[in-house]
Symmetry: C2
Subunit: 291 residues, 2 copies
């Protein structure tokens, strides 16, 4: 399975490299900044989930590739904007200086804007998909990324900073800031793979549980991992007064909840007989990761 992920990561990286505007196309600095952040690597978790979901519903992974990579662009844009001084003010991302540290704030802002915009272009022109599938891909991604999805989660996260730990707020932040785009990755794979409504609903349910498990693990790692393993500044969330699962439930409580959501994810996989697919392996990977 690990080999398959490596192969698919190479396919994803090749697609991104080929379809991002060339670094030399004007305005060159903008395209460099976009490429700097997208090609910095990272786990490519969201596109991997999209490809695996596509295969799980019986589609060929290649059909989901444009949508998978579009969602990676959305994820990358959100990191660039999140790292800006007026937001989390972070210097390190994926083990390298953040986009605005290298290109300045204005260009980082605009590179994020351009990546978000480009994502919708890829979704709306995904080859091997019908127009109906393409329009649906745009709708699913836009809902997940918008004011009642990822951006809404970011706002709630900012608003919760420095406030008393609160269970309900935490659930809102976890569900929307991280969960919605993970769910959309799975749905997008299902849509591109021409899955049934039942399959796509199961993928959404799986995404919800995986998204929560992922975020719990993230909060735990922020407390327990070192910078080298993590590729970003650890302990920063806690130091910044961020609302984290550890703040609300303690380290053990957060671990228990991560385990519970992992179990719920596996229950969805089992009900659909997806345990032994790439999707099952990815679910394992998400919940057992150390960085």
């Amino acid at each position: 399975m690990k080999d398959t992920f490596s192969t698919q990561r190479r396919t994803i990286d090749a697609y991104l490299d080929q379809h991002l505007p060339p670094a030399a196309a004007p305005p060159a600095r903008l395209h460099e900044a976009m490429r700097y952040s997208v090609m910095a690597g990272g786990k490519r978790l969201r596109p991997l989930l999209a490809l695996a979901a596509c295969e799980a519903v019986g589609g060929a992974a290649a059909v989901a590739l444009p949508a998978a990579c579009a969602i990676e662009l959305i994820h990358t844009y959100s990191l660039i904007h999140d790292d800006l001084p007026c937001m989390d003010d972070d210097d390190l991302r994926r083990g390298r200086p953040t986009c605005h540290k290298v290109y300045g704030e204005a260009l980082a802002l605009l590179a994020g804007d351009a990546l978000l915009t480009l994502a919708f272009s890829w979704l709306a022109s995904a080859h091997d998909c019908t127009a109906a599938q393409r329009a649906r891909l745009v709708c699913v991604a836009a809902r997940a990324a918008g004011s009642q999805g990822m951006v809404g989660g970011q706002v709630a996260d900012l608003e919760a900073t420095g406030q008393a730990p609160d269970e309900q707020r935490l659930a809102f932040v976890h569900t929307h800031k991280t969960g919605d785009l993970i769910t959309a990755s799975l749905q997008a794979g299902g849509i591109a793979g021409n899955g049934t409504d039942g399959q796509i609903a199961a993928l959404a349910a799986l995404g919800e549980q995986l998204g929560l498990a992922f975020q719990y693990v993230d909060d735990i790692l922020d407390c327990t991992a070192d910078a080298e393993t993590l590729g970003k500044t650890p302990g920063k969330d806690t130091a910044a007064g961020k609302l984290t699962a550890v703040a609300v439930y303690g380290l053990e409580g957060a671990r228990e909840r991560a385990t519970a959501h992992t179990a719920a994810a596996h229950a969805v996989l089992k009900a659909r007989n997806w345990q032994n697919t790439l999707l099952g392996a990815l679910a394992e990977y998400v919940t057992a990761r150390t960085s």
Copy 2:
């Protein structure tokens, strides 16, 4: 015609008000910020152009309403981000304090992100349009708004600031920063109205000329109008060392070019027998405006 514009502006404002997330929906401050900037008014030039283009190709204006309003969201997001301290650092917009002055930088950034995202959701779910039209609307808007469109123009504008006046740079900035979205408005109207390829190409040609005329007039007004008429700080572009048409060609030269592009726009209208449509009246309005 003036009455028709007023009626259509009311229709546009009503659509925006009804379809933006309610201000009370969480996160409420985000939705307030989005509404603050979108409902601040402005000329609604881009949606008016979309509706007029739709009628010019024989469609009912209502068919183009979602796409028209989506483009207004894109325009509004670009203004919010443009006004941020790391960009133009502007305090006044449409006669009111800018979004970040009222809601802070982080929320303004995210309100812009959310508006851009919502725009694609509206384009991809435009009622009365087929899936093929909806996917095409997304593609046209994304291309016009992206790194080789509006955002590219903004980067070129930033890079040109403080540099010697340069004709080629100016053309790039004018074409992409303002022109591309005006062109996309007309194309979107043509697509929603089920225009022929020839009609949509003519709308694009018209958009190019109108966009340039619009930007020349804008540069001229920055030099000649007062704050009350303009609804934003006049003379600011020149003071900030921005590349403007007046800097490159002088006031008279800029006026001559505005007139030439206006004439070219009218030639397109005439060739299609569109002079006496709403589109013709809008072209007149764009090129003769004083604010």
